[in-house]
């Protein structure tokens, strides 16, 4: 057991810090710090900078152009990037689709799509959820019927994050209606420019529109866009959901969030003293900080086990549940800390500056973020689904 960084690890951290210091554009980190949307251009600019450094794909093997970092390196990068308010890396192509292609895709698919992900030529979004499916993902209804050298796709996907920026979508579709639920599902890559696709934004409760509905009406998809075998898509989907999900615990985001809470609580006054000195608020901060200190070690323990060839298994569900609880608690603290200045509707701040919006605390749209991040425990397999996975695994299917 050794909790301190080795010399190599310290050197890597210094390298990351120097890179962030030099290359992270100030306008982007400002937006991240203030909780504002980056817009498509902002994301693309940061991706290009990371790609130039060779750091855009930390998890990919070297042969595909990845950084092939180990668990500790990834942890260090995530921690430092969050502390510097670097934008998050849009994960759909890089850490969701790519591992599936690398594991199950053809050589041609890998040769064609992977470089385009790195270069930013393609912006991918995810076509998993459907209106009627929710947590019961396998009950999806979107169909793909093979006709000659094309599939004809009909149906609807929803909760498609940043779909408005995407030119490509990977989808789970039903290719065999008669098969049992999980069988008969295939994994398709679809060009968003194909006729018959319509994207409609969903306005969320915080006023933002980062998610979309995507409608498919007789959309023609070339058969070579099938990944792996027909009707085996559920296997690939599960691989995607349980494997190689980087940063599932969101420790870096939580650390940056907690720093922001402390900053707000230092400038906000309560009873004539800074709020951070109020014992009740200090106790709230301390409890979540203690949880986060433990979480950071839990995360490292689990990912280094996984890196050593041991399957992460049920532990990634644990990271998801506790990680989101902590992030949401920090969002709650930020909202509380801001007091009456959490009340203004800061949606305009999302798209840029809003001179009329009062923000003497420089807190940012803390209440909108609080509401928006309720999604963390719903999307990507709700926390109830994760608890069910943990229980099923550890109780061995008690009946």
């Amino acid at each position: 057991m050794d909790l301190s960084y080795s010399d190599e690890e310290r050197a890597f951290r210094d390298e990351v810090r120097a890179f962030l210091d030099e290359k992270l554009p100030k306008d982007l980190s400002d937006k991240v710090r203030k909780g504002q949307e980056l817009g498509k251009e902002g994301h693309e600019r940061w991706h290009a900078i990371l790609n130039a450094q060779g750091w855009l794909a930390p998890n990919w093997p070297k042969e595909f152009g990845g950084a092939a970092w180990n668990a500790v390196q990834r942890h260090i990068f995530e921690e430092e990037a969050a502390a510097a308010y670097a934008p998050r890396i849009v994960p759909f192509g890089l850490s969701m689709l790519a591992p599936v292609l690398q594991k199950f895709g053809s050589k041609e698919q890998n040769d064609y799509w992977l470089p385009r992900i790195l270069s930013g030529e393609d912006w991918w979004c995810q076509g998993y959820s459907e209106p009627g499916a929710g947590s019961d993902l396998a009950s999806l209804k979107t169909t793909a019927v093979k006709e000659g050298d094309h599939y004809i796709v009909n149906g609807q996907k929803t909760w498609t994050t940043l779909g408005q920026h995407a030119n490509m979508i990977f989808c789970l579709v039903r290719t065999d209606k008669d098969a049992k639920k999980q069988e008969g599902i295939s994994f398709l890559l679809i060009d968003m420019a194909t006729p018959g696709i319509e994207v409609r934004p969903i306005v969320l409760l915080d006023g933002g529109a980062e998610v979309n509905e995507v409608w498919f009406t007789d959309v023609k998809v070339p058969v070579e866009n099938l990944v792996g075998e027909e009707n085996k898509g559920w296997t690939y989907a599960k691989y995607l959901l349980t494997h190689e999900r980087t940063n599932i615990a969101g420790v870096g985001f939580s650390q940056a969030g907690l720093t922001a809470v402390k900053r707000i609580a230092k400038s906000e006054m309560a009873g004539g003293r800074p709020l951070i000195e109020n014992p009740h608020f200090a106790a709230r901060i301390a409890k979540v900080e203690i949880d986060l200190m433990a979480m950071s070690t839990t995360n490292l323990r689990i990912i280094s086990k996984a890196a050593a060839g041991q399957a992460p298994g049920v532990e990634s569900s644990m990271l998801k549940v506790k990680g989101t609880i902590i992030r949401q608690e920090i969002n709650d603290l930020a909202r509380r800390a801001a007091g009456v200045y959490a009340m203004p509707f800061a949606s305009e701040a999302v798209e840029g500056s809003n001179a009329a919006l009062p923000d003497p605390l420089a807190a940012g749209p803390v209440a909108a973020q609080y509401f928006n991040n309720r999604k963390l425990s719903i999307f990507g397999g709700s926390n109830e689904i994760q608890r069910e996975i943990i229980a099923k695994t550890t109780l061995g299917g008690a009946k």
């Binding site: 959820s129 499916a133 909760w159 969320l204 004539g272 509707f345 009329a356 425990s377």
Partner: protein, 377 residues
Amino acid sequence: MNFDLTEERQMLQDSLRRFLRDKYDTATRNRILESETGFSADIWSALAELGVIGALFTEEQGGFGGKGFDLAVVFEELGRAGVVEPFMDTAVLAGGLIADLGDGAQQEHVEAVIGGALQLAFAHGEPSSRYDLNRVQTTAKAEGDRIVLNGRKAVVVNAEAADMLVVSARESGDVGDEDGISLFLVPADAKGLSIEGYALLAGGRAGEVTLDEVSLPASARLGAAGKAYPVIEARMAAANVALCAETLGAMHTACELTREYLGTRKQFGRAIGSFQALAHRMSDLLIEMEQARSAVINAAGHLEGDRVGRERHVSAAKNLIGRVGRLVAEDSIQMHGGIAMTQEYELAHIAKRIVMADHRFGDTDHHLERFIALASA
């Protein structure tokens, strides 16, 4: 001891509930939310006509209610329907303060409020006062027979729509003193008064109010100079009873929506309410709802009592509602899943009303501290 509503209150509750059910659905409210003023003048007039505002004032003040249980009945219904119109600000706060303190001429404004013809706002909190009622830095200085106000007021709800503002300012003492605070009636068009307005996350609008050498006649003062604090505290107690009742109503709606959703939404071939993981959480919400209702009853029932009893029960209610409110809002969203995150679904607005209520008139922690202080006092 008796837990039944009087016949009058029961009738008011019934008619208000019926009106709002018919006239105030999600689509209507979303249009109001997106409007420039942030509220509907038609709804305002109709509700005034229904007696909603009159119920918030006593008979001596020209109304027909004004007790804790009157506020509770009205605001629970407003909360159930997620009403964003500024009854709190015009009637309970500013209107109530005029009724509490105003002289003969000033009292005429109360009549206008009850009739639905006057909009008001209460400009009290300041950028560094957070939830403390005594931290007033805005100054009121006598200059000849005029009084001149200078300062800034934070997040003044309904400031833009208000015809007049009730503004607190310090005539003497230090920033944290209870003594020395006065209230003034300031016309919206007073020279030196400016408002930067903005929408609020949970509906309605507010503004940052700047008072730059605002000169008023002495007749603008409400009540005696420097003696407004106890009246503000008592008024805030009434406002908190109203806000707790409103939040109780909103929580009721959240629970009802969730209950219905659990019974109808199917996943894995079953109604999701048949899964214990959700069903037992729903049970806990319903238990806490009973507790929340009791807390509101306790606070409303002590509103006309002695100060310590009143403040203790008000702080207890605000603390309990703050805790239960967070639970209800978060669990309702969680049990719904993604649908609850969308603007067009009723719960989205209701959840925002519930959570953001914790940011007015003192939050969960503020009232816990107050409760402790009152116990050891």
